[in-house]
């Protein structure tokens, strides 16, 4: 993990609030693995407001070019700031942070379930799994077709996928969790990785309660440090029969066993 400044090679607008930023960084390309994230300073040099860094999953790594990318949604002040950066500007970030996903011990079948911007960190998992010649299926659900441009990225991976939108404007109409439920049998011996809104994760937790798929969720929580010192980013995990403990998303995660997560 290092504090870095990397040149922005592109900051492409995918749709109204969706951007993909490519950053030159040999260090990240060499050291990062799928599932990890970077922590980005989202204010001009020397400026301390907004104060905190923002975490973003690593969307893609192109080792050959020493370029990695992040796919991000403009939500508030921080993401608004970075959406205004241009190629040639420098990005102040740190990484790679969090634990990477080790696909070696896995089933040969991988199901990725993404909701909204939750698809971002799953993309790199899909790519890596594909390169390992695993059988990968990506189920992605959205409100509308604002992520349409992302389908092009997905097609490059040459994996099977299904897109669902709530308004039916792209792919099938419906919720991705319903899709998973309806196709339960086809994903019998799949290891599952999911990332997305709380409600989606809750539903998936229910769906997979009594099944013995290995289901891993990539979680989000507001962060201060991103390196494990502040205990600001905790999520509640089951511990023993009735107990719980708080685990840090930044250091113990961001991937957790979905079955252990307590959503209250």
């Amino acid at each position: 993990m290092k504090l870095l400044t990397g040149e922005i090679l592109s900051n492409e607008k995918y749709s109204d609030n969706l951007y993909k930023m490519e950053i030159f960084s040999p260090y990240i390309c060499k050291n990062a693995t799928a599932g990890q994230f970077i922590n980005v300073k989202c204010s001009p040099e020397g400026v301390l407001d907004p104060l905190l860094r923002r975490p973003f999953g690593i969307f893609n790594i192109e080792k050959k070019f020493n370029v990695f990318s992040m796919l991000y949604r403009v939500k508030g002040r921080g993401t608004k700031f970075i959406s205004g950066l241009k190629s040639g500007d420098m990005l102040d970030f740190a990484g790679p942070m969090g634990n990477g996903i080790d696909l070696n011990g896995n089933e040969n079948n991988i199901l990725l379930i993404g909701g909204g911007i939750g698809i971002a960190p799953l993309y790199l998992i899909a790519k890596v799994a594909g390169e390992m010649k695993k059988n990968v299926f990506f189920a992605a659900g959205f409100k509308d077709n604002s992520y349409l441009r992302w389908e092009k990225d997905l097609i490059e991976l040459k994996i099977n996928y299904a897109v669902l939108t709530e308004d039916g404007s792209w792919g099938e109409k419906g919720l991705v969790s319903d899709y998973v439920w309806n196709n339960m049998k086809s994903f019998k011996n799949f290891d599952i990785y999911c990332c997305g809104p709380r409600d989606m994760l809750k539903t998936l937790q229910n769906i997979y309660k009594d099944r013995n798929n290995k289901v891993t969720a990539l979680l989000e929580e507001r962060m201060a440090c991103g390196v494990g010192v502040c205990a600001g980013c905790v999520v509640k995990l089951r511990k023993g029969k009735k107990g719980f403990s708080y685990k840090k998303v930044c250091k113990d995660g961001p991937a957790f066993n979905l079955g252990e997560v307590i959503f209250d």
């Binding site: 907004p50 104060l51 905190l52 201060a224 502040c230 600001g232 999520v235």
Partner: protein
Amino acid sequence: MTEQDSLFSYETDTGGNGFSLSVRLGRIKLDNPVIACSGTFACGLEYSQFYNTAILGAVTTKSYSLKPIEGNPPPRICETASGMLNSIGLQNDGIDIFIKKHLHEAEKLGIKIILSIFGQDPEEFRKVASRAADIKERIIAVELNLSCPNVKNGGMAFSAMPDEVEKIVSSTVSILNIPVIAKLSPNHQNLVEAAMAAKKGGAEALSVINTVVGMAVDIETFMPRLGNVLGGLSGPAVKPIALAKVYSLTREKILPVIGMGGVFSWQDALEFLVVGASAVGIGTANFIQYDVGEKIIEGLRNYLKEKKIYDINEVIGRLRT
């Protein structure tokens, strides 16, 4: 580890050319006045990925209690204008794990440790101090986090009650017989009395300020932005408040002060020194600029060189009023 090596040699180099950053707070001697604040640096391990944290004047640990504490429900963090609120709820592994595990790791890195402890009542403070007795040669001081609520006394913070402050400080001093720092809260008006009580109790220095009580509301959900409703404000926003609190103490020359609150740059650190702080704590800044401790030490060193000031003590307390 070439980066760390070069840092080390850099330090010796400038150490040798006659510009001294060393400060003393009673019996506590520091190579430089830059200290990592409790709760913002763990025990220094994580930040050692970014620079050699052994160069810091000292690292104050997360505050430890007798038993592990799970802390407050999330969300625990919320950004505010030039600041942040936290309601970690003093989550910690308990003093025993510190002794068994974290201290050892910090020692391996050569980090100078100030151990921060707290309790829910004076009795717990006493017990934690007793556990720390075994390792007292391995730490440079104990800091008492007196901003935590006194559960046996209506939940009001210890530092609001001078009597309690004196009691806890003196019992710790008698148990440990190493330098004790009293960390006081800015949320009470009787800061000066609390400081005098700490002195009476035998404290070596004061740490000021802890976070300022604050809150924020999510106007979408009408819920507080923190799971615990109230939290502690830190960061640049509180710097003017911290400086005024430190000044209220240094003006009275009660005890040496470790000034903290919103320090992000060597210039900020210098403000605290000029106001009379003998050392400066870096808290929230660590979350944003991971190598800020190193940057501030360098900045202060360059400042001395540029101004041809041979001893940092020359600037401490030199406010012109």
